[in-house]
């Protein structure tokens, strides 16, 4: 009933269910559905089976989507600028320049597909062609033999190779043959590649900056090239199918297992036996022909069935363990089916909790969760996932299908202890749908961790169909079981290693052996593409140890270290934070001994860096974090160059089996950073992160009211998440952007030209308001991008969340306009509560205003721009009738030079943030941002504003008020309790955090030029040949007898004890047989007895015996 509020991802995919459960608060809903339906119709090779969630807040969506669906509105590649290239562009450039045109000319040139009008045997086809080309007497052409099994069957085509000199004649002759339908040039890619001297594949095998170490690669930074691109990164390269013409016909391998070389493991006798893998999904049929060992099925939903009504669970189980047709990785693994999603795609945290407890008790080895949701604040769930990992259950989960937007990671895949899996396609490009960006738990004060952990194939993968056979699906839901299946297979190969194999060691091996994809950032691919065989070798030689991920920090390495490589360090900047994850394969619990130590390399200017650490008190379960805060010392204020060093730390864990002393592991984290002289104040922009609030947990509504299926503002509003493009735009324009994660009272405004407050939902401390006034008087400029705010609209967009079983009412509008008005009141600036929407133009720039607000107060001596074509969207949302042709004429942009002091800063306000926010970007306004920054930082009023300036505002009497009874204080860092009647009740201003810079322990050494290669897990020999595997052991473990399935349909069902029926039937048959045997023996004995003594009675009994008698 509340699909209105369900996530677009789940929503669009579940075509049938979504459309059958339509409820529209707003009339335009139909359009959205319509688009989805149209896209659905176009998708050919894949089947939609994604799921929608009834509610938002704690619910878990099944992460699966259509490969053909590019539904993300803002992802119009044409709007992203041309020539976007990572900082090591040579590979990519040569790629496009050489291969693509050559493809078109080369392949076509002497191979042709001769199509017949019917299906004929090979010999018949040969005869026809020979007949048609009789003129050449068998010379100059050749029928290319097909060696595949299909060659035995009649076909309707042949591939003909024709010598150059006779092409045109041959084609003519062939066309004249009555049974030949058409002749088309051969387009097989495999053939082309042979003819292209520069094999593009080679570039995929290694990072372009890897070998040989290229100083240009490592030192070049994007801005020095003066690119204008937005650097959409790999998602740009990957999404638009830049090489689609070349790769179009590349055969998609039939079996996902073959692509990952699972066959090699099978040949060694490793097939998953002995491993218990749990599939938390929509259930699975007991009798499905693909599965050998469905060990147990349990139902945790309120539906009385164990079977899969959707196909999602079957598909996922198939990828893990199917043993026929479309093969899974571990066909002999014990499957434990946990049905936690109903056929209507409903699921609750509480169902998961109970099912998880059962999984712990069952001592499951590997658990796949092709599900996810944005609520990482669902503490009971998050705690439980930790608990599972702590109990040695290896958790594998899908990272989400909300890409290519950054800041879209799903829980639980974003947890450190879980293997979060992203999707790629068979061309080794990050699948567009795959969620990415850092985790957002740590904001605003910290910085996100790297996710996904690994990527693997998740696009157009074949797996089991619900009703038998196979089908193709796409989504990280697919990628997750690929990894879960691989992990199960790996686990079964190293069962003999006992407790050495645990969630941490498995993750360490998967990640340290993963193959890095070139030109793709760490926040998109994590460690890289899964390499099954290498991971197996790693696990075989693994010694318990701790490691970091990423295991080095090279802030000069683009694209991999995006965004660190996009902006160099300089003195006076907010510290850059790299949040590494610690994996501790020694024990579930451990700790960092004493403190990590910073060793700057003297010859490499390491001492110019100032380093501080924050880290987990206890590394549990199997994982923790080490955040490295880096900035430049005053000595380096004028330095330009690289600074290097390393961090060393020791991790200690309690004794485990066989130990005499606690386990200890030493880790080294190399660091390389580019340092530049401090840029001038005007070029420095400070992004206010502190005043951004988002879901989870509060209901902070979307900024674009038209995006009805994405009701929540959940991408963290960070320059490295949904404001990524804006950040890259600012960088390209030469600005240096830093992030403020603390109140306004905690930064030195004299260093910055402009403070950007965008889409802020938080309140302000009174001290912040007065501090900001002083700062502006002293020359700081402020840019505010506000958003819609209207109490009636807020009340209208409330919804009943079925998962938490309560009403959800927004805590603010798109932005917290009453709070912003208080902040801006010093300058006589205020926003209103009219919700504006529509197209308009400023000068010759087309603009779109997507649910914004307008100015109701602005100083008379400021410049305002007042479009006339905006509509009142509030009326539309509320369904109130609007009088015809009455567009509200409100200014939306205001520019003002503060008058307080001689060199006071400038204030620029704009009423809508959607045009700089990737989340629902339909029409960007980078030019506007550039122009505003020109005004705020250089005090130069662009002519486009002056030329289009409107009449000054007549100040409004009343300003928008805070909604009565709102619960903002629950989520606010500022409010003590509720604001009633505009009464502030702010908390005590927190003291500004001060990092404790660690003492340096300099070393007289230099780092290798390539940090990536220098780092590996310790004492691993993954290049060695595959170790022999003891098949005996395996056979012992797998029982050859048919597997019984344990079913538990749920507490409601009396069939819980149904097993007794099963038993009694067996007993019944045994009894019957025994009776038969007894009877026969009795007869036999009697017969013998009688033959000797009492012949006369014999005939009387014999008829009962079905012997060949003639009596």
């Amino acid at each position: 009933m509340h699909t209105l509020l369900s996530h677009p991802l789940y929503h669009e995919m579940a075509a049938q269910s979504a459309s059958s459960t339509t409820l529209s608060h707003v009339s335009t809903r139909v359009e959205v559905q319509g688009i989805a339906a149209a896209i659905m119709a176009e998708a050919t090779s894949t089947v939609a089976a994604g799921l929608t969630r009834t509610g938002w807040v704690t619910s878990w969506g099944i992460v699966l989507c259509l490969s053909g669906w590019w539904g993300w509105v803002g992802a119009n590649p044409s709007s992203l600028g041309a020539g976007s290239s990572p900082s090591c562009p040579s590979i990519n450039d040569s790629f496009s320049a050489e291969t693509v045109p050559e493809f078109r000319t080369d392949i076509v040139h002497n191979e042709f597909i001769v199509k017949f009008s019917g299906f004929y045997e090979e010999t018949a086809r040969k005869n026809y062609i020979n007949a048609a080309l009789a003129a050449f007497d068998g010379h100059g052409y050749e029928i290319i033999e097909r060696t595949n099994p299909m060659a035995r069957y009649p076909s309707d085509f042949d591939v003909l190779s024709v010598a150059d000199n006779i092409i045109s004649q041959a084609i003519e002759s062939l066309q004249s043959h009555p049974l030949i339908k058409s002749i088309t040039p051969q387009r097989r890619v495999t053939r082309t590649l042979k003819e292209i001297p520069v094999a593009p594949e080679s570039s995929e095998s290694s990072h372009p900056c890897d070998n040989p170490p290229d100083p240009l690669c490592t030192q070049q930074t994007p801005w020095t090239k003066g690119r204008r691109s937005l650097n959409f990164g790999s998602s740009f390269w990957n999404s638009v199918g830049r090489h689609s013409s070349r790769r179009l016909l590349r055969a998609v391998p039939r079996q996902i297992t073959a692509v990952l070389q699972a066959d090699m493991m099978w040949e060694m006798g490793i097939t998953g036996a002995g491993v218990k893998v749990a599939i938390f999904d929509t259930g699975l049929s007991k009798t499905h022909a693909h599965f050998r060992k469905i060990r147990e099925r349990t139902n945790w939903t309120n539906e009385k069935t164990l079977d899969d009504g959707l196909g999602h669970g079957t598909f996922v189980a198939g990828v893990i363990a199917s043993s026929s047709e479309c093969l899974g990785f571990a066909p002999d693994a014990e499957i434990h089916v946990f049905r936690v999603f109903t056929n209507n795609q409903v699921s609750y945290t509480s169902w998961f909790l109970d099912a998880f407890n059962y999984a712990i008790m069952k001592k499951i080895h590997v658990l796949n969760l092709s599900i996810g949701g944005p609520d990482f604040n669902d503490l009971p769930f998050v705690d439980k996932v930790w608990e599972l990992t702590a109990n040695r259950v290896i958790m594998v989960s899908a990272i989400g299908n909300d890409g290519p937007l950054y800041g879209t990671l799903n829980n639980p895949a974003d947890q450190m202890d879980v293997i979060g899996v992203g999707g790629i396609n068979f061309d080794d490009q990050i699948a567009r749908f795959s969620s990415r960006g850092m985790t957002t738990w740590e904001l605003p004060t910290g910085y996100g961790r790297v996710k996904p952990d690994v990527v693997t194939y998740g696009s157009a993968v074949r797996g089991s169909n619900k009703d038998g056979g196979c089908r193709s699906l796409s989504g990280t839901s697919v990628a997750s079981p690929v990894v879960a299946g691989a992990v199960s297979l790996l686990y079964s190969g190293v069962l003999h290693r006992g407790s050495v194999i645990n969630p941490a060691s498995m993750k360490q091996c998967l990640m340290s052996t993963a193959r890095r994809l070139p030109g793709v950032g760490i926040f998109e691919q994590g460690a890289g593409k899964l390499d099954l065989i290498k991971a197996y070798q790693c696990l075989n030689s693994y010694t318990p140890q701790a490691s970091l991920s990423p295991n080095y920090i090279d802030m000069t390495e683009c694209q991999y270290f995006w965004p660190y490589c996009t902006q160099p360090l300089y003195y006076g900047a907010m510290p850059v934070i790299v949040n590494t994850t610690i994996f501790n394969g020694m024990s579930v619990s451990g700790k960092i001994v004493e403190q990590p130590v910073w060793h700057p390399y003297q010859p490499q200017n390491g001492e110019l860096l100032e380093v501080a650490f924050t880290y987990s008190d206890v590394i549990w379960p199997w994982s923790g974090y080490l955040a490295v805060h880096i900035t430049v010392k005053k000595d380096g204020a004028n330095f330009d160059g690289l600074a290097q060093g390393h961090v060393s730390l020791t991790i200690e864990s309690p004794m485990e089996e066989g130990d005499l002393i606690p386990r200890v592991s030493n880790i080294r984290l190399p660091i390389r950073a580019k340092v530049i002289p401090t840029p001038p104040r005007a070029k420095r922009v400070l992004w206010d992160q502190y005043h951004n609030l988002r879901y989870p947990s509060g209901y902070f509504p979307r900024d674009n009211l038209r995006m009805k299926n994405d009701p929540l503002d959940w991408n963290a509003d960070h320059i490295h998440t949904n404001f990524k493009d804006m950040y890259m735009q600012l960088r390209a324009s030469g600005f240096f952007v830093e992030v403020l994660g603390v109140p306004f009272t905690c930064f030195d405004a004299s260093k910055y030209g402009t403070l950007m407050i965008v889409d802020a939902e938080e309140e302000y401390f009174p001290e912040e308001i007065s501090k900001l006034k002083r700062d502006v008087d002293n020359g700081l400029s402020v840019i505010v991008f506000a958003d819609w705010y209207n109490v009636s609209v807020m009340k209208k967009v409330k919804f009943y969340d079925e998962n938490t079983r309560q009403w959800w009412i927004p805590e603010t509008g798109g932005a917290n306009v009453p709070a912003l008005n208080e902040l801006l009141s010093t300058w006589g600036i205020a926003f209103g509560d009219t919700v504006l929407e529509g197209d308009f133009t400023i000068g010759d720039h087309d603009m779109f205003y997507a649910s914004g607000t307008g100015l109701v107060r602005f100083p008379m001596d400021g410049v305002v721009i007042t479009p006339t074509t905006l509509k009142d969207q509030g009326h539309e949302v509320l369904g109130t009738p609007t009088s015809v042709e009455e567009n509200p004429k409100m200014p939306i942009l205001g520019l003002y030079q503060s008058q307080g002091t001689e060199n006071g800063g400038r204030i620029a306000v704009y009423g809508d943030s959607n045009c700089i926010d990737n989340a629902h970007l339909s029409k960007d306004c980078w030019w506007l941002l550039d122009a505003i920054l020109e005004y705020t930082s250089a005090a130069h009023m662009p002519s486009v504003f002056l030329d289009n300036a409107g009449v000054p505002v007549k100040p409004a009497d009343a300003l928008p008020q805070r909604m009565d009874g709102n619960l903002l204080h629950r989520y606010s860092k500022v409010l003590q309790s509720n604001i009633g009647d505009n009464q502030h009740s702010a908390k005590i201003l927190p003291t500004c955090p001060h990092l404790k810079w660690v003492a340096a322990h300099p070393l007289n050494r230099t780092a290798p030029s390539n940090l990536y290669k220098a780092q590996r897990l310790l004492s691993l020999n993954i290049e060695a040949p595959l170790p022999p595997y003891h098949r005996q052991e395996l056979l012992k473990k797998s029982d050859g007898i048919g597997f019984e399935v344990d079913d538990w349909i749920g507490a409601q069902d009396s069939r819980v004890f149904g097993i007794e029926d099963h038993l009694s039937w067996t007993m019944f048959w045994i009894f019957c047989l025994l009776c038969g045997v007894c009877y026969v023996s009795y007869k036999y004995c009697r017969t013998r007895f009688r033959l000797r003594r009492r012949k006369p009675r014999l005939p009387k009994l014999m008829p009962a015996f079905p012997g060949p008698r003639n009596i």
């Binding site: 945290t349 619990s589 036999y1084």
Partner: protein, 223 residues
């Protein structure tokens, strides 16, 4: 004599069939046996019913200080196993961040866990039947491991019998799949569907781990 031979042949045929069937049944029995290691018996999900034997933990002679509480009535046949457990190894709560509870009812710091998996009984951090941070009235604890330790106290047997009875009534697969006292405590003390309201909020964030009925009984106030 021809007839007799026929009969003999048929008898052999039937006999063979019977042997095959029986052997198959007995082999199934053996898989069932391996399954019992994981805590539940029978095939299909056969849930425990109250008549089945259950290994109740009993106080041993060195039960000093901590528990003391007079040991419940003798369990049904688990005593022997229990003794062998004590000598060889312990199962423990595995997951703890800092502390671990073992199947003898001890709770101790991770560093004091012996190779056998048991808590070092004489270590300063070791406590037996520790109910630190547990509320006797609600039967809930702040810390999972203390909940287990508290729950292992033989005097909890009546409370746990109630838990089992209730689980039986509700056909709670988890609690009915456990095979002994320690497994019951491990499973019962975990947070579960009865620990949350509005799905994503703990009813009682401070007392999450309950060996008796659960937090719902005393603090759930849903509108």
């Amino acid at each position: 004599m021809v007839k007799a031979k026929w009969r003999l042949a048929l008898a052999v045929l039937f006999g063979t069939g019977a042997i095959i069937l029986l052997s198959k049944v007995s082999l199934q029995g053996s898989t069932t046996f391996t399954r019992e290691e994981y805590g539940h018996a029978g095939h299909g999900i056969q849930l425990r019913n109250l008549k089945q034997p259950f290994n109740w933990h009993e106080d041993q002679e060195w039960a000093e200080g901590g528990g003391g509480g007079g040991g419940g009535p003798p369990g049904t046949g688990g005593q022997h196993n229990e003794t062998t457990h004590e000598i060889s190894t312990c199962r423990n709560s595995v997951q703890g961040k800092m502390i671990i509870a073992d199947d003898k009812g001890f709770v101790c710091h991770r560093n004091d866990v012996l190779q056998s998996g048991c808590c070092h009984e004489n270590a300063t951090s070791s406590r037996r039947y520790s109910c630190d941070g547990c509320s006797e009235s609600s039967g809930c604890c702040k810390v999972y491991e203390h909940c287990i330790s508290c729950c292992m106290d033989p005097k909890r047997k009546p409370v746990l019998m109630n838990v089992l009875n209730e689980a039986n009534a509700l056909k709670n697969i988890l609690l009915l799949s456990v095979s002994d006292h320690f497994e019951l405590c491990l499973a019962k003390c975990r947070t579960s569907s009865s620990s949350v309201h509005h799905e994503n909020v703990y009813i009682n964030p401070m007392d999450n781990f309950c060996f008796s009925k659960g937090p719902a009984a005393h603090s759930e106030e849903k509108s």
